[in-house]
Symmetry: D2
Subunit: 156 residues, 4 copies
């Protein structure tokens, strides 16, 4: 049964690899978009394109949209751990380094830094695809709840 | 001229008070929505409604959307300081306490904690309107740039 | 028995009020010093004096010492909640606003912001006593462990 | 003259390499101890031993002492950048993963993540030397002041 669950996690990520519009269960995640380009356990990459509606008054990617993309990649990285119980976000710390403009393509990388029984610590990074510049970085602590994971609705 | 600038800040906020759809200059800010319900120098309140497209797979307000609303209220609070030069966000720290569901109304409060010549520190809080529960809190450090503020485009 | 535990918490704090050198169980806490000047459930005040050995190369209170005092006041505030199980620190976020010099007296304030079953969120603030300036602020998330509290060793 | 300044930075770090008790200018830094074991521009390593007076009531390295060691290694890493003007700490974010006990030896690693003209972002990590476990991690934003660096007092 663990084996079966593992297969379901793998199926889920494999079904999303390279897809422009995977039909995710998260409406805001779908709004942000993003294409999964790499996954392994605890390490993920997605590509995002800066759309006009994600920008601020200065024409650059909004700080909240940056936080949202980083929260998304971290959330997907947690799912890649093939966990049995849901983790909930305790906090999100975002540091901003560099602006991104409409039309630019971003690479978001998620990484599990320290997985604990109760508290896990993850990191997200956001780069400009064309020159590799680090535009922002985030860290998150997550708390493992008692709510068991059921992946089946994701396959409906 | 300082007086005139002051008047322009006041005009700007007064023109937005209670408006459902103020035509802001920030596309992502417009997407998030929000109605300004109170402003004074360094202290702001806005109301937001949780729309379906802001939610996550669990049906609650997405952590990224929470971060975005808090970033917005903090950004508006900085503008209420009637500053002469743009401030840019160094970091955003969000702590999550409680979920919010589709259709719920939120009160976002922004507060200037410490205004420095170079670095300013602000706080944002997000409450459920119906029971006053604190659902999340954020702090931000901002750095004052050399870029002079010109409000006039906001009145076009 | 709950009543008795409550009494023990009250006894503990009462015995420390205004004492220059309470014999605490934390060696580093003792090194930092500090005198408890006020306590109620979830709200504490202590006074600290900046000693030479707490300063940095610029002659001001070391950023690590500031973090330490804030961590201490937050830790004492958690104890004031009369909790039954130990809480462990998940993270500490310190924002620095203003320097403090050798010999200056500081007021440290601790506050419980949000007590949850599993995760609690607290805040610490550090002021200069003579002019009330806020020199630093900290927030912490704590996780409630399964380790039951036994106060009795504190009374030996 | 730039060359001379460079030499002075190198001299400073070389004089400290492997020294048990370098006579630093920071009293609290001296109290924490630590031996420089590796340096290059933007990347440093020091070793610390957990002394009794650094522990808390549970007998483990105090959270404030952990924050202090991380603040120290980050501060030393900034100096290794051979900068011309002092940088001041805007904030310090510490995440705690694992306890350390009296007598244990720790490896502290500092790393410059992103050096900007005005804001720089650094990271510190703290490991148990014997098994390599990551016990805590910190990030810091620093702001470059107008105060010119004069290293000469360090050679007196």
């Amino acid at each position: 049964m663990e084996e079966k669950k593992h297969n379901r996690f793998a199926e889920l990520f494999n079904s999303q690899l390279g897809q422009e519009n995977p039909k995710g269960l998260s409406p805001f995640g779908n709004w942000l978009g993003g294409v999964l380009t790499h996954y392994e356990k605890g390490k993920l990459e997605k590509e995002y394109t800066v759309r006009h509606e994600m920008t601020n008054a200065l024409g650059t990617l909004h700080g909240g949209a940056i936080a949202s993309i980083l929260d998304e990649i971290i959330g997907a990285t947690v799912i890649s751990m093939e966990f049995s119980h849901f983790k909930t976000t305790v906090n999100l710390v975002v540091d901003y380094f560099y602006p991104a403009y409409e039309g630019q393509v971003l690479i978001a990388k998620g990484l599990m830094i320290k997985e604990g029984k109760k508290i896990s610590h993850l990191q997200g990074e956001l780069f400009l695809k064309d020159n590799g510049k680090l535009i922002a970085r985030a860290i998150t602590n997550m708390y493992t709840t008692d709510l068991a994971v059921d992946l089946e609705p994701l396959f409906k």
